[in-house]
Symmetry: D3
Subunit: 339 residues, 6 copies
């Protein structure tokens, strides 16, 4: 219960920072989906949606995927809700399969957003991407897209990638496309580039210009924060930095440029929002339109965070949070409390 | 009943091919509207809509014109539904008069789409429009727009036009604008260019580069299919080619490039869809925006049909159908059957 | 009651002229808001909305600010309605604070529209803005924006401004930005440019190229209409010209180019409409998009009014009214009367 | 408008006195129904109901007949509302034909209620009905039923009856059944018992024990109130007594026992209420059940009025009003004002 | 389709004769339920209800059991509908299990109604039940209850019973309770009272006072109608008499008193109606109340049929139909046709 | 949370035992109402109802008073809900003031039910009420009504009464009406019959025929259960007997006849149910009808509990629980689990 409530609150600030017309809510089922048959998974999904019907609606609260769910579950949610309502309500969920109104480019949205912000920061710090190196922790939807995009779109040399089976570091650069192919076939990075394996515990403190923790939370701690050797820290995961580490990073503010998670990985929820808007309008945008609008929002958020941080001499994280919280307060104030 | 059900199914594949978020449904009243007074026609229309209210809705099923109906009937439908609901619901019908939310350019949409696809095929076949001739059967909304547009926009020489009163063929080209003026005044082509009249039964087999059957169904049969002399057959009508004829055309695949009806005349339903979207968004597009978006969809469908036909070595018609049916299957699969 | 009904009808013609999909309605509370405490004002606002609930809705009738109301009251309306419905329905009101879905640039919309039309008229009359002078009566939302924009965007020399405390005239031009700063600090123009004070009764008849009455109604009367010395009369206020004056102006049609209020100040309701559309689509436009779309509509209305006036040899005002009324008639005719 | 509002308020007190769970509302159309064709009358009725749809509902406000309407109009109201809702909602109107859910005995309800209360008063005043005489003004639904019932059920000798064409007085008693048959055939009393015709202006002041004004309002005035010779005045009409007359009657309280209209003619609205309840329950009561329940309510109201009048030494009319008003106040107090 | 439509119409007349506030509708699934597993049966039932949701409702159309369905299926219907609506809507079906709001005595209602009407006819014909004999064809819900009740409640000697496996005739009387016990154990009458077996084809023409066909339709034909030896023919089944037979019976009107099916077996739908009313009122009646109200309605219908038949010198069947049809016409007339 | 959930479950079994068509639910606000001003209390009540609106409804879940609430709060609930819905929905709460649809006799319902069951038990045990004594613990709504009714209606001699300030015992009998008057004036029993004060700790073990714990829970414990000297233990309070005590009472089953709380104090919820039914039917029952129907239900429940206990040789408490739980199971089984 507590974790779910915390995630709901966190989502509120993230949406407010990106100026999406959303509050924040979270729900869950206490079950290990990997232990369910497909039939059981469908039954649980449909039952869950049926129980949620009084609480959700295209204009009330909508659903989107998170840990342990996928496109198929979103499709079942959508179908269950639609059968109850008597017509196809595809705006009730985001993260749907494209076949029933999902958005092209949604899977890649978070990773692309991360890279957009890294480029933006490099530009601001007058760093030349062609001469920079990057280490990316995690090789799932976010990490792999970020690594590929950093290398092939931005021109940065990716010198480190990792997943839960292996950490690979090659100062001469890694062939990320080969890594991606490898993972598509084998499932993990385990057997990839075995002669460049490093100790995962030291992975984050290897020298690089851009460090992208894109795996799990709490990986940058009070212990290793002082040893980070990056110039830009792009928090692609949720909560990769502990409060202890944060104190260290605040002191190193002139050495390490932090892009806090609430800003850095907002691409996912922003494109979910776009999917909802397209559903409401019953008209799909092209993938290019989606990406343009995504970058427009990220640009705006980034600029505001930097401005606020400078003006108030606070960290980027504090600035981002402050903007989010203030927006919620402002909206609550003008609406008032009734009854 | 059977015909209505068949048309409903046909509409499903057409919408799926164009990726419109629609299924397919059809309804009708067994009455000859030409024998009704205006008062009776209004009464029938309003009663029909009233009976349909539980089955339709802006998000459930919407209505559009087909044989025997017109803009005025759509307006009565819209008004009846709106009075029942208590506010103006103009997204409940398409094909409305512009005065109450209809779309500019809807009448011309099918004809323009046909010509867009003909141009596209010419381009692909490396035919020079300026050196091509076209015969267009039918001179209603679709045929006349197609003939005019082929001549004045594309540069093709229109050598044959016809309606149910006359078939005209002039190898030197026909003045289509004059024909249009003639029809506006006299109602039919009967007295137009009388010295170029030909036997309607031989009309379709006259030599031309582009043949556009835009009148009724079943005009290209097992008998005449072998004698067609066109390079491109653009099926602007619904079902102009019989199954027998189709077998012949499949064998002549390298001689005659078929643009099957499900693709060729999709312009009408696509712009109806646009009218609905504009109604939902409560914001009208300009005629240029409408046309651009129409061509974008047709382009996409055309490319997919050609690609599929090549890859699977099947006819364009089979490819178009296969794409449509597969999309419906795919959507049904991800949604599942419930309860 | 009578005034409210008249305003409702007036709004119908204005919306019809701009081709907004709206009818016209007005409501009010007989109270002097300046005598209420904030708590009382909130109570009155919420009660009023609660009483209106059966009559309004995002697709039925929506609310917007008028005399004696402001953004905060719109926010209370929105909140009250939303609490009743159980979710945030921000499309129920326009003129909301930006924090809860209001539109950037709404405040300036009327003034900007006035200036757009003045430029358009100048262009048509082949007047060079750089060589023109303007007098603007009223310095509220509309007048101040118009004066600023005429001066700094269009290049016209503003020689007269006024409010209810002072009328200022300087043939060498007035520093409008300074005036704006003055009003922001002091509330009125009272102490501004005191050595250029003129008699308010003679203010409108001072020589100028463009006269913009942007204060209250009935200021151009049968008495002073004959003495106006402007080339363009842009009616930014509602009803600044009395019927008597109108007769005079009709006779002076070749001397004074009238932009009638129904056209001239339509910017406000047009941007309100945009705010509603954005709410329905759950997607905000940038301020630039808002302004572009506003000008596109004004351009279209202006052209139609001019064309109609020329063809029928009637005044601009009559032409504007005729177009509006005809559109309403046309829509009523195609819908019919039912039951 | 004023009259309609007054009737609405009056209905509130009447319902409150009878403890019906109703407030009071009235509506009307400014038209003389006798000048409309049946088709026009149906059109007006259906349009009126359609306009009222947002304001009425089985649980909001329901409709019933009053001046100028009849069972057929109620049926049209019911049908129009039902078609809008999609199913038969017969609880939306009372006074319907029995064929579509009307209540047996509704037509006679007011007259029967009057007689029940007259009996109750006689009993209280220890008057022997067999030895009493009654004069009944008016011979419509209320007057004729009252006269018949007084004579044949209660045993009172009816010595006077009248309508707008004739006033008949026979101290030996009138054959009321014959009068009823006469009216059924001829429409009025004009040619009935012509040898017992009296001056209508003196009719009400003829000697009798029970006087029942059952025609129009304002017939007992400051002029004739002092000359009434009855022991019981049963106000079957609405407002038969003017305020002037009321002052006289208050002084004659020990001579004349007034049953005030708000109590006396409540039978009609009470049985309308029963019709509504039966509609809600989808189960019809027998005529006997209807009559029993009617008398139970009248008994209760009568007893409370008498008790209140005695305790506070006020007139029956004042007592009846006070009880009604107090009930409304009490309900408003416990509910409070919100928002 | 045709059969279902005919049953729907038939139901309309039956309901109208009994003055139930219902029209008539029927639906079905083309499936043999005996070949489905319980899981499949539940799936079909729930899917059927889900498809019917737009067409049914507690105030629109409700469902009840008929051939091939039972209490459990009604429970699934109720549950499916209720889950869709979000609360228990038990008034959506009749024939529910008592555990979820079904009515005590519903199963026995038809049989009891048959016997009530037989008693009523005997009384009218001055027959002494104690001296009468009865033959009952069919031993399902209706036949067994009728046989038991005729014997133990009315005192008639039951001399014949049958089902699809056996026809038993004993002029000394049959132990019906023993037969009921036998069927409860063995399922059919096959092995019961084997020494009294008769040829089923002659069963209906055996001598008796009361003949109750309570099995299937079309058993009394043009062939055997002339040989019936009963005094009272109580049509407990639906349509047991063919049109041919009916002509014969009309000629034998003074020999055989027919209680036509539309009247005779109305007990079932009447108690279904009661179940619905109790659901709407959320208050259950006792079994005694149910039976009393049932007999009250049957008495009223019977009396009207007899009266109409006498007055118009028509058969009971024609009289019953005429009353039903007239009521529908009357209701349609007062409501009118709209739009 | 836990306590609220437990109470909800307990309510389910109680309703099931009484065969009310209810499940069980409970809600609450963590606030001490005695510390709130009336304005604050109203604000809390209205806000609470507003938050509950998605979860309640006349057919979904309704509200009734419990600890810390009263009639006025129910009126605020009703008003808040009604304003949201737009019409008076008085069936949304029970325990309302009579002025807005509350039920006469609701306050006394629990006490009267207790006494009805005591009489029933005495009758079964062949005890002569005139020769019996009773001790009643608690003198609130339940205890005082029970004591008065035992004495004045049933003829039992009340020898003990108590509240939280005093325990009074007089073997010659107590003047309960005097006690009631005393409490109305002074608020408590503190100064009443001071010469008959006893130690509260010994109060329950004083000799008597009928012991009625009508105060708080857990007063009969493992310690004092063995010393009870009553023949009938009527549990008017909720949970007056601890599980320990219950084991003792089960062993003394032939000495002490227990009427378990779930049955004994069901009168309150039963009359709440009646209030709801009357609201749905929009028709009020007389107090006598209410009481009759209440006793009918209690009689039925009592008989079933006794029968079950005998057949299964279990305690009354276990029997009552078993019946309740089984009914819920049975209903769940026939409905099934969907989806």
């Amino acid at each position: 219960m507590g974790e779910t409530a915390a995630l709901a609150m966190w989502m509120s600030w993230k949406c407010a920072l990106a100026q999406l017309p959303y509050g924040g809510a979270k729900g869950g089922v206490a079950v290990d989906p990997s232990k369910l048959s497909r039939t059981e998974l469908e039954a649980v999904s449909r039952r869950y949606m049926q129980e949620m019907i009084p609480f959700v609606g295209p204009h009330t609260d909508i659903m989107g995927p998170d840990m342990g769910t996928n496109e198929q579950i979103m499709a079942w949610f959508m179908d269950t809700y639609s059968v109850y309502k008597g017509y196809a309500v595809n705006e009730i969920v985001t993260g749907k399969p494209v076949a029933i109104g999902g958005t092209e480019g949604r899977r890649e949205a978070t990773g692309r957003g991360v890279v957009y912000l890294v480029e933006r920061a490099m530009n601001m710090l007058k760093m030349n991407p062609e001469k920079c190196t990057a280490i990316v922790q995690g090789f799932g939807n976010v990490g792999s897209v970020a690594a590929l995009s950093l290398g092939y779109k931005t021109g940065v040399k990716v010198t480190g990638i990792s997943d839960h089976t292996a950490a690979i570091y090659n100062p001469k650069g890694i062939d990320v496309k080969a890594a991606e192919q490898h993972v598509l076939k084998k499932g993990t990075l385990r057997a990839f580039a075995q002669d460049h394996r490093v100790d995962p515990r030291e992975f984050l403190t290897l020298p690089c210009d851009v460090l992208v923790p894109a795996a799990v939370d709490r990986v940058i701690t009070g212990k290793n924060a002082g040893q980070l050797k990056c110039r830009i820290l792009a928090e692609a995961a949720n909560g990769p930095t502990t409060p202890d580490a944060d104190l260290v990073l605040e002191n190193r503010w002139d050495e390490i440029f932090v892009i806090p998670d609430i800003l850095c990985n907002a691409g996912g929820v922003i494109v979910s929002y776009f999917e909802w808007v397209q559903g409401l309008q019953a008209f799909l945008w092209t993938e290019m339109e989606v990406t343009d609008k995504l970058f427009r929002i990220l640009e705006h958020s980034f600029a505001q965070v930097i401005k606020r941080a400078k003006e108030h001499k606070i960290s980027h994280r504090t600035a981002a949070m402050a903007i989010g919280v203030e927006r919620v307060i402002k909206a609550k104030q003008v609406r008032g409390l009734f009854p």
